[in-house]
Symmetry: C3
Subunit: 343 residues, 3 copies
C-alpha cells in the first residue's frame, strides 16, 4: 500500500517466512501463501498484511478476501473463521512493526539526489521554475510551472509540487504531494515520521511510517510548522486551509478545507478537523478527536472529546465557550467570598 | 511605503485603472489621479492607498491630503467630504489585499542570489566576516565587521546585519535589519510572512505582507523561533531583549528593550511588550494587547487584555498572580469540601 | 572543564590578571596562583574557577583543594577559611560570565569547515556513510558506519555520531555526542546555547554556554525540536527515549531512559525526568524540577514542583490526576448551582 514513488518494497515473502521473521505463528494459512505488503485494516487487499487488536474491528475483515491478518491468539480463531490467513503473536502491534520494517527497511531515508547533482537528473521541472542556490531536489520529484524553491530548501524523492507554489528557505518537503499555489514558509517540515511506537517492557519499538502528506490547492503553512506523514495512509490538508507558525500536525490527521490553525496549535494523530473550523493559538487536540465543521475553539483550549459543528468552545477540558466564561466568573466570585469569610 | 530594498513596486497606476483591477468603484476622485503605493491609515501619504473600515478612524484621514482611501459605500461620503480620493467596495480589506498584490505581485519571493553564486556579487561583506559552507547571501545584503554566518544559513536580499553578530546554522533572515552583536541561533526564521487574510465565504484571501523586522543591538534569539515581518510597517525587537527557543512573534509586534521571552511563548499580531517585561514559558498573548513595562507574566498564562506596568500576573485569563494563587487554593478547598459532602 | 573537542581554551591566566579582567578583587590568594578554566561548584578542580552565591553550597568546596572561588564579599571569609583562592565581586554571576567569556571568547562559533570543503578533511566517516548534497560536516567530526546525513544538515566541529544513525534534512547537531541508532528528524537543533544571563540594571549579560549534549543509543527526536547544550556540564537524553516534534529541552536537563515526550513539551533548565516517564503534549516543566520514574503527566499540564514516581498527574499547577478531574467536576457543578441562584 505504501506509495512506490516514496518507498521501495523489499517483498514479497512466503507466509511462513514472514511469520518466522517477525516471531509470529501461522494459525491458519488461508488462501494467501505469500505476503507482498503491509496495510491497515480498512485498506488491506489480497496478499497484504494488517493487524487487529480490537474485537469490534474483526468484522471489517469479512470483506477482505485474501488478506493476511496478524492478531492475538485469542482472536485468531475468529479471524480464521472468515477464511483469512492468520498469524498470531502475543503483541501484534510489535510484530506488525517488524513486518513493516522487513518490507521497508530504509523507510525515511534516501531523500535527496544519489549523486553529486543538487537537482537530481530525474527530477522534472516545469516552465519558469526557480531553484535558488543550495536548494536540493531529489529523484523523480516533479515541480510545476512558476514554482519558486528558496535557498537551502530540500525537496525529497518523488515529491510533487503544483504550479505557482513557494517553498521557503530551509524548508523540507518529503513524502508529499502538494497542489497548486501552495505556500510553504521557511523551516517547515512536511512529511517527517509520525510518532508511533509499539511499547513493551523492552522499550519503544519504532513503527515504520509508510504514508504520505497530501496538501491541496491554496494552502499556506507558516514558518517552522511540522506536518507528519501518515503511518499507513495519508495526512491531508484541505483546500484553502491556512496554518500559522510552529504548528504541529500529527500523522493521519485530516484537516478540512479553509480551516484556520493559529500559531502553536498542536494536533495529535488521527484528528479530524471539519471545513471552516478555526483553532486559536496554542490549542491542543487529543488523538482521534473530531472537530465539527465551522466550529471555533478559543486560544489555549485543550480538546479531548469530539466537538459539535458550528459551535464555540473554550477552556481545558474544552467546553462551550459561554459555559467556560461562567466557570471563570464563578471561581472568581467564590474566591472573593472565601476571602471575606477568612477575614 | 514598502521598503524598496526588499520590495519592487510595480506602480503607479491611474486611479480608475486601480479601481478596475480590484473591483472597486471610484466614489470621489479628489486630487489624486494616480496611486503609486499602498500604506496603512496612520502612515499614508499623498498618492498612496489605504483602507478604513472603522468610523472612528476616518478622522485621522483629515491630516492626509492627497491620500486615496478605500472604504465601504456607507463611509465613502464621509471620506469624500475630507477632499480625499475615495474608492468604495463592499469588502474593503479584500479589495486592499488585491491592490497590494497588484503593486507587489512577488512579495515574499526573490530572496537569494539570482545567479549561480552563493554570495551574491552585489552583497557587501565587512572585514573579517565568516560565511561558512552552504550559507547563502542575497543581493544588496550588507554584513558588518566580524559577523559570523554559520553553515546553510540564508540571508535574504537587502538584509542588513551589524557588527559582531552570529547567524546560526540553517537560520534564515529575510526582510530584516539587525543591529550590532545580535545572536540568531540555528533554525530561526526572521521575516516570514505574517498571518493575515481577508476572509469571506469564498475563502481566506492572502493579504500581502510588505513590512520588515527591526532587531536592535544585543538581541539574542533562540533556536527555531519565528519573528514575522510587519504587514505594513515593522515588527520591532528592542535593544538587549533575549528570546528563548521556539517562540512565536507575530506581525507588527513591538517588543521593548531588555525584555525576556522564555521558550514557547506565543505573541499574536500587534502586541506591545514594555521594556524589562518578563514572559514565562508558554505564555500566550492575544492580538493588540499591551503589556506594561517591568511586568512579569508567569509561565503558561494566557493574556487577553492589557496588563498594567510593574505587576505580576498569572493564569488564564491572566490576572494578578496573588489572585490566581487564591483561586487555585479556593478550588482545591471547595473540591475537598465537595468530597466530604458526597461521602 | 569545557570539552576541548568543542571549545578552545584561551587560558591560563594569573589570578591577579583574571581578577582585573573581570572587575573582581583578590580576597585570598590560596594555593592557586593561576587559573586555567571555569567550572561549576560540583565539578571544579584545582586551578579552575567556580562561583558560589548560596551559603549552603560553600561546604561542598571543602573537598576541592586548589579550586578558585568567586563569591560575594559577605561569603569570601568563609571560603578563604577553607584554604581556597577567593575572588570577590558584588555580582559573582556577572563576573563569572565575564571570566567564561575571557577563557572562551568564541564559544558558540566555529562550527563548520574552515575551508572550502563541505566535508572537512579532518572529519572521520565510517563505512557506508551517506552524506547527501548540501550537508556540511565540521572538523574532527566522527560519523559511524551506515549513518545517513540528509541534505543540508549541519554537523558541527567535534561532533560524534554512532552507527546506523539518521540526521534529517536541515537539522543541525553541534557540541554533541550521539550514540548508535539515533534518529534526528528534519530541522532539529541539538546543541544550541542554553538561555542563561546574569541580569542587572544594566541589562542581561550572556553567560557563555560551555557544555555538551549527550544522546544515548536508540533515541529518536522529532522534527524542529530543540535540545540546548549544558551551561557547564551536559544535557543528557537517556537510551531509548522518544521525543516528538517541536519539543524544547533546556540546558542541563537529564532525561532518563525510555521516556516519552509528546509534541510541544517544554522543559526549563536542570529538569530531571525519570526512566519510563511519559509527558503528554504541551506539558511545561519549571526549572530544577524532578519527575519520578514511571510517572505520567497528562497533556497541557504545568509542573512547578517535584512529582513522585509512578503516579498520574494533570492540570496546572500539576496535581494527582484524580484530584484534577474532581476539581474540574466541582467547578462545573458550582457554576451550574450559581446559575440557578442567579435565575
Amino acid at each position: 500500500m505504501a506509495d512506490p514513488r516514496f518507498y521501495d518494497n523489499h517483498g514479497p515473502m512466503a507466509l511462513a517466512d514472514l511469520a518466522g521473521a517477525i516471531g509470529a505463528e501461522v494459525h491458519h494459512s488461508g488462501t494467501a501463501t505469500s505476503v507482498h505488503d503491509v496495510s491497515d485494516i480498512h485498506a488491506v487487499r489480497a496478499g497484504e498484511l494488517c493487524y487487529v487488536v480490537k474485537r469490534p474491528l474483526i468484522a471489517a475483515l469479512a470483506a477482505k478476501p485474501g488478506a493476511v491478518v496478524l492478531t492475538t491468539p485469542a482472536f485468531a480463531p475468529e479471524c480464521a473463521a472468515l477464511g483469512l490467513s492468520v498469524l498470531q503473536h502475543a503483541d501484534p502491534l510489535a510484530a506488525f512493526a517488524r513486518a513493516a520494517q522487513t518490507f521497508y527497511p530504509v523507510a525515511g531515508r534516501a531523500l535527496g539526489p544519489a549523486g553529486n547533482d543538487r537537482i537530481d537528473p530525474t527530477a522534472r521541472l516545469g516552465n519558469n521554475v526557480t531553484v535558488e542556490f543550495g536548494a536540493v531536489i531529489g529523484p523523480q520529484a516533479d515541480i510545476g510551472d512558476n514554482t519558486y524553491i528558496a535557498a537551502n530548501a530540500v525537496i525529497g524523492r518523488g515529491v510533487c509540487i503544483g504550479r505557482n507554489g513557494f517553498i521557503g528557505p530551509n524548508a523540507s518537503v518529503i513524502y508529499a504531494l502538494l497542489g497548486d499555489r501552495v505556500i510553504v514558509h521557511g523551516g517547515v517540515r512536511i512529511g517527517s515520521d509520525g510518532f508511533g511506537y509499539a511499547s513493551s517492557p523492552a522499550g519503544h519499538a519504532k513503527i515504520p511510517q509508510l504514508g504520505r502528506v497530501i496538501v491541496q490547492d491554496d494552502v499556506e503553512i507558516g514558518a517552522n510548522s511540522c506536518i507528519d506523514r501518515g503511518a499507513l495512509g495519508d495526512t491531508t490538508i484541505g483546500e484553502g486551509t491556512k496554518i500559522d507558525n510552529l504548528v504541529q500536525i500529527g500523522h493521519n490527521d485530516t484537516i478540512g478545507r479553509r480551516v484556520i490553525l493559529v500559531a502553536q496549535v498542536g494536533l495529535s494523530g488521527s484528528v479530524n478537523v471539519g471545513d471552516w473550523a478555526v483553532l486559536g493559538g496554542k490549542v491542543g487536540v487529543a488523538d482521534h478527536v473530531d472537530i465539527g465543521p465551522g466550529t471555533r475553539v478559543a486560544a489555549k483550549a485543550g480538546v479531548s472529546r469530539d466537538l459539535a459543528a458550528g459551535q464555540d468552545y473554550a477552556g481545558f477540558p474544552a467546553q462551550p465557550a459561554a459555559l467556560w466564561r461562567r466557570e471563570v466568573a464563578t471561581l472568581r466570585r467564590l474566591t472573593k467570598g472565601q476571602k471575606r469569610r477568612d477575614e
